[in-house]
Every structure is written in structure tokens, then in C-alpha cells.
Subunit: 341 residues, 3 copies
């Protein structure tokens, strides 16, 4: 894909300042710009780079007034950052323009595939599966019997969706995501464990994105639910019967144990662990590596394992670092006390 | 799959109280029951729901005496919970009733596949592989050369088993499980690292279940061993030459480093880390997020990173939360001491 | 593969002491040696085992003088450990001797596959992909459009490489490794989040090894870079725009957040978390389960969450375990102080 400065200016409503015919085929940061790439300057801290960059085109704010020679062609727009973000978006859409069913895919006769879908080779679409329009399922995926996937979705190579699970519209699932594996449910008998059959499913609502190799277990009964707008990073564990509220964001390698309900608009750091059967409120923030063992109210901000108020935690931790000195002080006080007595 | 109240009553030895012809096709919790679903009432706390549920059929204890109108058909049995668990089991078995080798699978000529197996499309069965009767290998799995899988197994979509590994009977491996990747062994030379070849294997004994995306590395020499009845949750790391004793249960995202031996009937929480070359006794319990740096005796219960007695840990943590106040007390005592002196 | 004692002695430059025709087909530890296996004795601590082992052949040092009867055939060499390591290496190479493109693979017409490569069934090679000589891509992998893989590589079953990523020579990627998934970038709008398009790539340099189910995200712009000789264990998360310096080693389940740069020759333990936008120097050591929230200088050795000097951490932790007693001491001092006053 190659575009001229004029084509890009037309796309983002800008004005070319330089050679309208110069062509670019990639995007770059201004400090790394190479010939043939397009970059942008929004943050004034990066201004010095515009005089040195080899980027062929740089998008700048209308009011940018260079103080030295610039070799790049400029495109002037009201807001350089927004214009560049729009280009990123277009570029990204072009990347996912595949459509059709590749001949080495397996699609059950009873499955319904929407218009303009892509089904890659070695992808398996089971009985009664329904896939909405414009959804792209890359090679090597598995969609189990009776699963439903909405429209405008992206399932990258190697996603596995167990039978009966439901995925909404505009959902992106990255490679290695597992949706609907059995919950970890075992009933102790005398010497070993009996498996508790896990016959619920997983429901993922619209506009959710799930990172690579994250696992979301099916419910024992009922559904594990990922609400609208949730963003999950890579390698996260969501156990059976968990519910995650709208627009909550969870960073990599965190885990949520069975039947816990998390509210809306929470921000949960990386490597956090949350035990089972808890209720976490809305707008809660949890620092990375924290361990949550109790319910949390709306708006709480916590840290530690087990976690408590982040302010209190940081205070305690300051003294944790000084503990040896505190112990010496106590020893001295005891000696002084003895000599006084 | 649709069943009438009478068919279900016959299956679980119950008596229909209502319409014997009413049909259900799914199972539900009583509080979520919809028309066409079957539910149960065992815990008296849930009794109020039976008067509101839309479940078409509810299994109840023989002695249940309704105090209001109930719209559902009842099936009376001696123990409603056990009867429902039995149904779950049957339902689960019906889900895994596929058999035969799908035409897009690859099965090496030298491989031996047992009776009533299912080998899904895009699954690769290497040279000399042996698979026991009734084992179901879902689409997109890989079984490397010379590997052996027992009878009555479930390998969900995307399981990868490296060459020479051995899996027992009645083992369930969920999607994304990797068995037999190289152990993490490197010998430092002057500037970089030489790989230590990893030529052992992994042995998984009978009745083991392994959760999605868990990784179990092959031994450097000899075998990494997962003993009978072990249950591993999702996203767990088992390093080379580890041995995990019978019926030990490990929760999600925990990791065990190389050559550590864990005893029988242990319960290990989520996100626990255990360093290498340790011996952990039988019946040990380790709290979530703990870090184990020393051997543990039979029956120890520990928490912390590094971990020690859970009771001591909890005591210390109470004072950790009060550290700022303790520091103030010490300061005050120092001042008072000075004025006394 | 079966070899006689004489064949092995020729290969490693040793002298047979026993039956030159005896054959072995596997390698074993001396304490586990079975008939048909080859073992070695290097560490004198293991000498007692040589009198009991059933290994058919044992490699020993030239100067080994048995004090009892030995049933195994010996092969004498100057350095038994080195000779055995050499055999391991040969054995390992024999394991990866497959070549050719299996008929059920998908290779785009525009892709270039080097000499002596292996492309397994159900592996998908996209448009314009370039793969160097002798690289083995096992079944069920996915190499996205425009990706480049060097020579002498091993991509085990189920590796997924997104479009445009670059992998060097002699790189081993274990099953389930995901290279180039989108970075976790979202810009908050009023109520939810807008995705920030991730259009950079991942560059993995030569002699890197990556463990099973590890995920390495593509850069937002530019590249996420894994430098020469880096060794990553299983289930690790490397976020967008991270750079990891030469020969740095990271143990299982650690995570590095976006845009952090890690120096050369670092050793990072398991389950470590490192927040984003940090600079970690060269030769840094980080203890398992630590949380890194600040830049680290060359050569620092740290522990804790948040981490500080490992020596200071260990000291503080000694007193953390005694906190209840310290609190009692303070209480006593306060009482004594009161009675004095």
C-alpha cells in the first residue's frame, strides 16, 4: 500500500506543504522516521526531531512554524494527533480486508456465515454456529457447536471457542484466547476428587477486546459474563461464573477466581489475584500484584497482598523498608529503660 | 437434546408431580430458570425462588412441601442435589459423543487409534502414536511422534503434546495445554548461554485434569511426572523434572520451578511460586500469591513471599498495616526517654 | 534409533570397556538406568549408582577405577560430562531431522521457503513470508503475511506469528508462543475506551529461545525488540514497545509492561512484574515475585513489591516475621514509661 502526500491530505482534510507527489508506505515515530514513512508532530517536546527526521511526510498542526530547514513534506491539519490516529485506524482496517472461506477450512453444513466474512484455512466451524457479517476468523481457530459470534469481529489465529458460548459484535479475540474451558470445579470424596460437570457457557458482550492466551472458563451453570467494553490484556485468567462489569480494564497476568463479580469502570493492574465469591464495586482501582481477599466498595483504591487502602499501604511500606532500624530503636529503648529502672 | 419430565424421572428414579410430558432442553440455576430448562432445589435458602422460577421442571427432595403455587412441574427424589449432579454427568457425556476420524485430520500410518475414538479435523497424529479406546481428540491438536495417550481421554481443541510424552487413562487436557516443551535449561558460557538439550519426557498419570493454556515442560533427562488424580487449573507452569504427588490440586497461574517434588493431597492457591529443587511434603496448604523458597514438611500451612506459617503471617500482616503508628510510638518513646534522662 | 557401544565410542572419541556390540536406544540418569539405555558418571557423589544401575552403557572418565563389579559396558573418555552433553546435542538434532512441506500445509504462492525446511500439516504461511534454510515449522503454526523467519529455526506446533514480524536465525519458539498480538493500548473517551491502533511489529534477533505460551505484543509504532541471545521461559508477557537487551534471561510467568527497556545480561526471576516506561540497566538481578516500579541502575540486585536492595529486603523481612513481638515490646515500653513518669 503506497499513498501520496496529496492522497493522505485529502483523506484527513489537510494542506500539503512540500511535494504533493511524494509517496509513503509505512508509519513511523518521528525520531525513527525513514524515507518512505509518514510521521507526525504533536507534542512540542519532539519538535527538534522534525529537523533531523528522514520521514518523507510529517503531519503537523496548522500553526507550526519551522525555525530551521525541514527536508520532509508537511501536511498541515487543525490537530496533528487526531489526524494521525485517524490514519492509524484506516491503516488497521486495510490490514483486515480479507474475505471469503479458504478451501482448507472446515465449515459444518448447519453453520451460518454472514456476509463479507473471512474464514481462514484450518479453522473449524462446528454445527449450528452462527457468525455475523464482516467477522474475520483467521487460520487455525475452532468454534465449537452452537456457538454464536456477532458482526464485525476479529478472531486472530488460534482462538478456541468451546460449544455454546456467545460472543457479541465488534469483539477482538487475540491468538490463543480460550473461551469456555471447564471451570475448575471438583468435589472432594474420601481420597480424591470428583469432577463437577461444567455445563454453563461464556457470554462476551459487544466491543470487548481480549489479549493473547487469556482464558475465560465456562460457568458451572448459567454464564460467565464479560460486559460491554471490557478490555482484557494477555494471559489473564477469568474463572467460572465470574462477571466483569462494563468498561472495566484488566492488565496482563491477573486472575479472578470463581463467582466473583467486578463492577463497571474498574482499573485492575497486572498480576493481581482476586479470590472467589467476592463483590468488587464500580470505579475500583487495584494496584499491580495486589491480592484481593475481601469485597471492595465503589471507588476504593487498594494495594498489597492482602490489599488495603493504597495510601495506607504506601505508608506501611515506607516503614517496612526501615524495619531493621525500628528494631534497633526498640532494643536501645529497652536497654535504656532497664538502666533507668 | 430434548427430554420429557417422565424420561428424566425414569433416569434418576424420581416421581413426577405435574405434567409428565413437559419437555426441557437445558439446565439452569433456579434463580435464572427459563421455560424449557430444568433446575433443582436442594438448599432451603433458595426455596423462595421456586415460587417465581420459569424453569419448566424442578427436581426437589421427596419431603418438599410447597407453601405457595408453583408453575413448574416437580420431580421428587430422595436427594435432589445428587440427582441433579447425576443429570449433569449424563449431559456432559452426551456432549462428548463424537466418534470417527474427520477427513481433514492427519494420522500417520504407524499410529494406532483405539475403538470409538474421535479425531477432529486439523489434528495431527505423528508416527507410532498410540491412543486408547474412547478418547476424543478435538480439532487442531498435535500429538508428536511416539507419544502415548490412554483410554477415555478428552483432548480439547488446540492441545499440543510433544514427542515421546505419555498420558494415562481418563485424562482431560483443556485447550492450549502444552505438554513436553523444552525445560528452561541453559549453561552460561563466557558471554551468552548454551542450550542444555532437554531429552526427557512428561508422564501424566490417570484421572488428571489440566486447565487451559497450562504448560508442562519435559525433563532434561528422565520424566516430569504428574501423578494420579492431580488437578491443575489454567495458565500454570510446571517446569522440567518436577513431580506432583497424587490428588494434589493447584489453582490458576501458579508456577513450580525445576526439579521440585510436591507431595500428595496438597492444596496450592493461585499465583503461587515455588522455586526449584525443593521437597514439599504431603497435605501441605499454600495460600494464594505465596512464594516458597524452602522445603515444607507434611501438613504445613503457609503464606507470604517468602512464605511461613499462615498464622504467623496473618499476625505479622496485622502489624504491617499499623507500622506507621508503631513508628510514631517509637519516636514518642525516644523523646520521652530523652527528657527523662 | 539404536546405537552400539562401539558406534558411540567412535562418535565421542572414547574407548569401550566391555561389550562393543551392546545396543542402546535411550539416554537416562544413572540412578534410573534401564536395560537399553545409556548413562554417564561425572559427579563422584553418584559413584555408588554405577554398581547398581541397569543402564547398558555408562560413559565414565578415563581414570575411573571401579571398586565393585559393574554389569554395564563402560566407555572411557577424558571428560564424561562433556561427552554426554555432546551426545545430547546429537540426539536432539536427530529429533529435528524432518524436511519437506507436508501436503496439508498452506503456503502462499508469494512465500519463499529456504532449503531443507520442514513445514508441517495445517501450518499456514501467508503472502510474502520468507523463511530461511533449515528452519522447521511444526504442524499447526501460523505465519502472517510479510513476516520473515531466519535460518536454522525451530517453530514448534501451534506458534502464531502475526503479519510483518521479523524473527532472526537460530531462534526456537515453543508451542503456543504468540508473536505480534496487539499492544494493550486504549484511549479513554467519556464513557468507554477507543482502541489505539497497533501498527508496529516485533523483532526477535538471533539465538533467542522463547518458552511455551509466552506472548510478545507488537509495538504501537516501531518495534518491540528481543535482542540476541535472550532466553524467555514459559507464560511470560512482553508488552508493546518493550526492548530486552542481549543475553537477558527471564523466568516463567514474569511480565514487562509497555515501553520498558531492559539492559543486557540481566537475570529476572519468575512471576516478576515490571511496570511500563522504565529503564532497567545491564547485569541487573531481580528476585522472583518482585514488583519493579522504578528505574534500576547497572548491577542492582533487588527484591520485594515494590522492590529495593535484596540485602535490605531480606533484613526487613526478618523483622516482618517478628512484628508481633516488636509490637509487644513497644506496648511494654509504653507501660513502663508511664509508670516511670
Amino acid at each position: 500500500m503506497e499513498f501520496s502526500a496529496q492522497q493522505i491530505a485529502d483523506l484527513i482534510g489537510g494542506k500539503v506543504d512540500g511535494d504533493p507527489g511524494i509517496k509513503v508506505s509505512s508509519l513511523s515515530k518521528i525520531e525513527d522516521g525513514q524515507a518512505g514513512s509518514l510521521s507526525f508532530l504533536a507534542n512540542p517536546q519532539y519538535t527538534p526531531y522534525i529537523y533531523k527526521t528522514s520521514a518523507s511526510i510529517v503531519i503537523v498542526n496548522d500553526d507550526f512554524a519551522p525555525e530551521e530547514n525541514i527536508s520532509s513534506t508537511l501536511i498541515r491539519v487543525p490537530n496533528a494527533y487526531q489526524a494521525f490516529a485517524k490514519l492509524l485506524e484506516v491503516y488497521n482496517q486495510l490490514k483486515h480486508d480479507k474475505s471469503g472461506i479458504e478451501s482448507q477450512a472446515f465449515v459444518a453444513e448447519s453453520a451460518q456465515i454472514g456476509a463479507n466474512c473471512y474464514i481462514g484455512a484450518f479453522t473449524y466451524i462446528g454445527e449450528n454456529v452462527v457468525i455475523g457479517d464482516n467477522t474475520k476468523v483467521y487460520p487455525g481457530c475452532y468454534i465449537g457447536d452452537n456457538a454464536k459470534i456477532g458482526a464485525d469481529g476479529l478472531l486472530f489465529s488460534g482462538v478456541k471457542i468451546y460449544p455454546d458460548c456467545v460472543v457479541g459484535n465488534s469483539v477482538s479475540l487475540h491468538s490463543g484466547v480460550i473461551v469456555g474451558g471447564d471451570g475448575f470445579g471438583f468435589a472432594p470424596n474420601n481420597e480424591s476428587y470428583d469432577k463437577v460437570a461444567q455445563i454453563g457457557n461464556v457470554i462476551i458482550e459487544d466491543h470487548v477486546e481480549v489479549g493473547a492466551n487469556t482464558t475465560i472458563d465456562r460457568a458451572t451453570l448459567g454464564s460467565t459474563i464479560i460486559r460491554k467494553g471490557v478490555k482484557l490484556d494477555n494471559l489473564i485468567q477469568i474463572a467460572h461464573n465470574v462477571e466483569i462489569g462494563e468498561n472495566t480494564v484488566i492488565a496482563s497476568q491477573s486472575g479472578v477466581a470463581g463467582s466473583t463479580r467486578i463492577g463497571k469502570n474498574c482499573m485492575i493492574g497486572g498480576q493481581v489475584g482476586i479470590i472467589g465469591h467476592l463483590t468488587i464495586g464500580n470505579n475500583v482501582k487495584i494496584a499491580a500484584q495486589s491480592g484481593i481477599g475481601n469485597n471492595l466498595e465503589d471507588g476504593e483504591i487498594v494495594q498489597g497482598s492482602p490489599a488495603f487502602s493504597v495510601r495506607e499501604y504506601k505508608k506501611s511500606y515506607v516503614y517496612f523498608r526501615k524495619l531493621a532500624r525500628m528494631a534497633d530503636d526498640i532494643d536501645n529503648l529497652k536497654k535504656q529503660m532497664q538502666s533507668l529502672q
